[in-house]
Symmetry: C2
Subunit: 321 residues, 2 copies
C-alpha cells in the first residue's frame, strides 16, 4: 500500500490510524486513503478499539422475551438515532446465558455504553461493566439499578389506566388476563397490580385470569365465563383481547353488553374488530431523546445516575367497553 | 492477581490467554481462574480475537425491513442453536448504511462467519468479507451470490401456492395485494410472480392491487371492488388479509361467496376471523439445521458454496376461499 501511495509505511500507518500526533498533509492523507480503498483494505475494529481504549459500540442485549410490534419499532428508531450520533448499535443475543455470565460476555466486547432492556442486571453487574470500561450503563425496565441510569418503564400505569376506565364505565367485577406464556410476567404482574390499585377501596373486585395464547384455552375460559360473574375484562393486550373476544362471542356473550373488554397497545387489528376494540395506547419516549441521553452519559461518565419515567398510557375508547 | 493466586505474572497471562505452548498444572490454572473471578476480571474479546486471529462471532446484519413474527421466531431459534454450538451471535444494526460501506463495517468486526438476510450483498462484498478473515459467508434470500453459501428463500413459491389454490377453487379473476410499505418488494414481487406462473396459459387474469396498511386505503380499494370484477384475492399475508376482509365485509361484499380470500403466514389471527381465513403456511428450515450448516462451513472454509432451497409453502384451507 505504501508503494502504491508513494509514501513510507510509517505514513500509511499514521494515516489509517488517524494519528493526530504526526503532521501529514491532506493530499498525502488522501493518496493513502485512495490506495487503501483500491486494495480493499478494511481496518480491524478490535485493533482500533484497543488502540483508542474504547469503542463507539452501544451494546443492547437482545430482549429475552418476545417483544411486540410497538417495542420493536421503538428499538428500531433508537438504533437509527444512535447511528446518527455515530454510534454503532450491536444487538447481542446471549440466549441461554444469564446473570453474571451474561454480564461478563457483554463486558468482553468492551462497549462504550450498554442499554439493557428488561431486568437481569443488578448493581454488581453494573459495577463489572463500568470497571471493564463502559462509560454509561442505561437500564430500560420497571426498576432502577444502583450505579446505572434508568429509563423507567413501569407497566403498572397501563393496568391502572385500564382499571380506571372500566370502573368509570360502571363495571365492578373486573377480570384481568395474565398470559401463561413464559417471560411475560415482567409486564403482566405490574399491569394486574395497576388494575388493583385503580379500584382499591371502591368495593370493586379484581379476578386474575391465567390464559395461554391458544384458541382452545380461550374457549375453555369463555365456557365458564358466566360462573365467574365478571362484567369487564382487561385482556393484557390487543392480541389476547382479540383471542378472548372471539371466544366470548362464540359462547354468545355480548361485548360490551354483558362484558366490557379492553386491550392494550393500540394495534391496527383492534380497529378491525367488531365491536371495535377499546385499548390502552402506550406512549414510549422517542428514540432520538433516548439516544441523546446515552450520548450525554457517555460524554460525562461521572455524572450521577439519571432516572426518568418514560412510559405513558392513555385510553383509546372505542366500542368494546 | 498474580499475588492473590501466588504465581508469577507470566503464569497468570498464560492461563488467562489459554496458552497451550506452556505446561501449567491444573491446580495452578484453577487458582489463577479463581483469583480472576474474585477480582472481577473480564477478558477483552477484541484482544483475544486479535491473538487468536479469529473469533467465534457470527454476525447477522439486522434485516432492514420489518420482519413478521414467523421470521422473528426463526431468527431466535437460529441464534439459540448457534449459541449451543458455542458461537456468539451478534445482530448488527447498520441503519442507513448500505452496500460497500455496510460490508466494510461488518468486516471490521472480524466475524468468523456472516449470515446475511435479504439482499444487499454482492460478489464483491463477499470477497471483501472473505479477505478480512471470515471463514464462511451465508446468504438468506431469494438469490445466490457468487462465493457465498446460499439458503434460498424464494417467495415465488408462496404466491404459486396461493394462485394454484384459488384457481383450483374455480376462481379466474385473481387480485394480488402488493403492499405499498417500503422494503416489502423483495417479498411481494416474487409472490405476485408466483401467482402469475400458477395461472399462466389458463386464461385466468391476475390484477396487481397496491395497498397501504391503513383502514382508509383498504376502504377505498373495497369501494371500487365491483368495478375491478375480481372473484378472488391473494392478500400478501394474514395481516393485509384481515385488513382487506374487514373492508370488503363493511362494503357488503361476501367472502368467500363473491370474493375468495387467502393470506399467508398462518398467524393465529386468521383462525379468529369469521369466515376463518385460508392461508399459506410458510415452512422455514429449523434453526438447528442452519446452525449446523454454518458450523460445517466454518470448519471447511475452502468447501465449494452450498445452495439449498429452504422455503416451503402449503395451503391451509379454511372458510374464506
Amino acid at each position: 500500500m505504501a508503494r502504491l501511495a508513494g509514501v513510507s509505511r510509517a505514513t500509511v500507518s499514521y494515516v489509517l490510524n488517524n494519528t493526530s500526533a504526526v503532521r501529514i498533509s491532506e493530499p498525502t492523507r488522501r493518496r493513502v486513503r485512495e490506495a487503501a480503498k483500491e486494495l480493499g483494505y478494511v481496518p480491524h475494529a478490535a485493533a482500533r478499539s484497543l488502540r483508542a481504549g474504547h469503542s463507539r459500540m452501544v451494546l443492547m442485549p437482545a430482549p429475552t422475551v418476545p417483544v411486540g410490534p410497538l417495542y420493536g419499532r421503538f428499538i428500531n428508531e433508537l438504533q437509527w438515532a444512535l447511528g446518527r450520533l455515530d454510534y454503532t448499535v450491536v444487538q447481542y443475543g446471549t440466549v441461554g446465558v444469564h446473570g453474571d455470565e451474561a454480564v461478563r460476555a457483554w463486558a468482553e466486547l468492551r462497549p462504550v455504553a450498554i442499554l439493557a432492556p428488561g431486568s437481569g442486571l443488578d448493581a454488581r453487574g453494573v459495577a463489572v461493566l463500568r470497571r471493564s470500561g463502559a462509560r454509561a450503563v442505561v437500564t430500560l425496565g420497571p426498576e432502577a439499578v444502583e450505579g446505572a441510569h434508568a429509563l423507567l418503564m413501569d407497566h403498572e400505569t397501563v393496568g391502572h389506566c385500564a382499571g380506571r376506565h372500566l370502573y368509570d364505565r360502571g363495571r365492578r367485577r373486573i377480570g384481568v388476563v395474565v398470559p401463561r406464556e413464559p417471560g411475560l410476567g415482567v409486564f403482566s404482574g405490574p399491569r394486574l397490580e395497576g388494575v388493583r390499585r385503580a379500584v382499591r377501596g371502591t368495593g370493586a373486585t379484581v379476578t386474575e385470569l391465567p390464559l395461554a395464547y391458544e384458541e382452545a384455552a380461550a374457549a375453555r375460559l369463555a365456557a365458564r365465563w358466566r360462573e365467574l360473574g365478571l362484567d369487564a375484562v382487561f385482556a393484557y393486550n390487543d392480541e389476547y383481547a382479540m383471542l378472548l373476544m372471539r371466544a366470548l362471542q362464540d359462547e354468545g356473550i355480548a361485548v360490551p353488553g354483558e362484558t366490557a373488554l379492553i386491550g392494550a397497545d393500540d394495534l391496527m387489528l383492534g380497529r378491525l374488530l367488531r365491536p371495535r376494540l377499546s385499548t390502552v395506547r402506550i406512549e414510549l419516549p422517542s428514540g432520538r431523546d433516548l439516544a441523546e441521553l446515552v450520548d450525554r452519559a457517555v460524554r460525562d461518565p461521572a455524572a450521577p445516575p439519571e432516572r426518568r419515567t418514560v412510559l405513558g398510557a392513555a385510553v383509546v375508547h372505542r366500542e368494546s367497553s
